[in-house]
């Protein structure tokens, strides 16, 4: 077994960890805001914009799978 397979596995695992936590925090914050103030539900589109900013990190990790 070649070692770069192991490297790719470790990179995917740890690299996806941060963005996953980040997107979860965004979702929980949005739900909290809607729960406290139902008027805030109209900002649902903004949530996707912030998620896209976080998602870039996860995509960079996934793209480097094909480079190393």
């Amino acid at each position: 077994m070649e070692l770069d397979v192991l490297a790719k596995g470790i990179m995917m695992g740890f690299g996806m960890l941060g963005p996953a936590i980040g997107i979860g925090l965004i979702g929980s914050a949005f739900m909290n805001a809607v729960g406290r103030n139902p008027e805030a539900a109209k900002y649902f589109g903004q949530v996707f914009v912030i998620i896209a900013i976080v998602e870039l990190m996860a995509l960079l990790v996934f793209a480097s799978l094909f480079i190393i």
Partner: protein, 276 residues
């Protein structure tokens, strides 16, 4: 489970075809034309023809069908600009630039999902068609043009002095102002790269995921690839929205000078509300 995967993989000679970079098709006067450029021109032509015909068919009384869809998209963009700039007049003025960017990115993403785009049609051994947004050069060009437009509009709205004051805000006798201003200019440059990378990676990785699941599905490829194609339809529209939304946010941040005003009283209320 693992054995089944190995058996399926053994029946195929090679893995899924994965391309990160576009391939060169032919040269015109020493200028290489890649497959993504070729498909980008086709998409632009299609979009221009469709949108011009739709604009001519537009009437005051709403029509059914495709015209209404384009109207909904344009109205959506105008509403988004109005929300972030706070003025309907400005929104209608800036809408054409952002609406064309939105429709171009969305149609490029969606036309990239058509059958025949990718490995199916080849020219001299290289794939003939490749979605324009699945090429870093293309998205980098698009984001550079959008950011240059943002700077141009900001200079025209505020004048050159006001534009520079946006970067070098604060007391001009303080050397820290210049240091922070350089960082502001640098962050404007990183926005180009982040816009381009986000669009490129989303589309290119969508293509790769579809290729991988078509390969893993083997004989059942239509069933395994269908959910990801539907997901990519959603992601394509979402990325077009995010691309335009972020540029609108950068523009409204560049032409607005509300960061000088201090908020009074509200912060104290928020503090008490949080502790209560």
């Amino acid at each position: 489970m693992f054995n089944i995967l190995q058996i399926i993989a053994a029946t195929e000679k090679s893995g899924p075809a994965i391309h990160i970079t576009p391939a060169e098709l032919f040269t015109i006067g020493g200028f290489g034309v890649t497959n993504s450029m070729f498909y980008g021109f086709i998409c632009s032509l299609l979009i221009i023809i469709i949108l011009v015909i739709t604009a001519q068919r537009m009437t005051i009384r709403p029509k059914r069908g495709f015209t209404q869809l384009v109207e909904i998209g344009t109205e959506f963009i105008i509403g988004t600009i109005e929300n972030s700039m706070g003025s309907r007049k400005k929104a209608v003025y800036y809408a054409p630039f952002f609406a064309s960017a939105f429709f171009f990115v969305m149609f490029s993403n969606w036309l990239g999902l058509l059958p025949g785009v990718g490995e199916a049609l080849t020219y001299n051994g290289t794939p003939l068609l490749r979605p324009f947004t699945a090429d870093l050069n293309g998205t980098l060009a698009a984001s550079t043009i959008m950011m240059i437009l943002v700077q141009y509009f900001a200079i025209r709205e505020n004048g050159l002095k006001g534009y520079l004051r946006h970067f070098f805000a604060g007391n001009l006798k303080n050397p820290a102002t210049y240091l922070l201003g350089v960082f502001e200019v640098f962050s404007e440059l990183t926005r180009i790269a982040s816009l381009a990378l986000r669009l490129f990676l989303n589309v290119a990785i969508g293509e790769i995921i579809i290729a991988i699941f078509t390969y893993l599905g083997s004989f059942a490829a239509p069933v395994t690839a269908l959910p990801f194609i539907l997901l990519e339809l959603f992601v394509g529209a979402l990325q077009a929205y995010i691309f335009t939304m972020l540029t609108i946010m950068y523009l409204s941040a560049a032409i607005k000078h509300s960061h000088d005003t201090e908020e009074k009283g509200e912060s104290a209320d928020e503090m008490t509300a949080q502790t209560a």
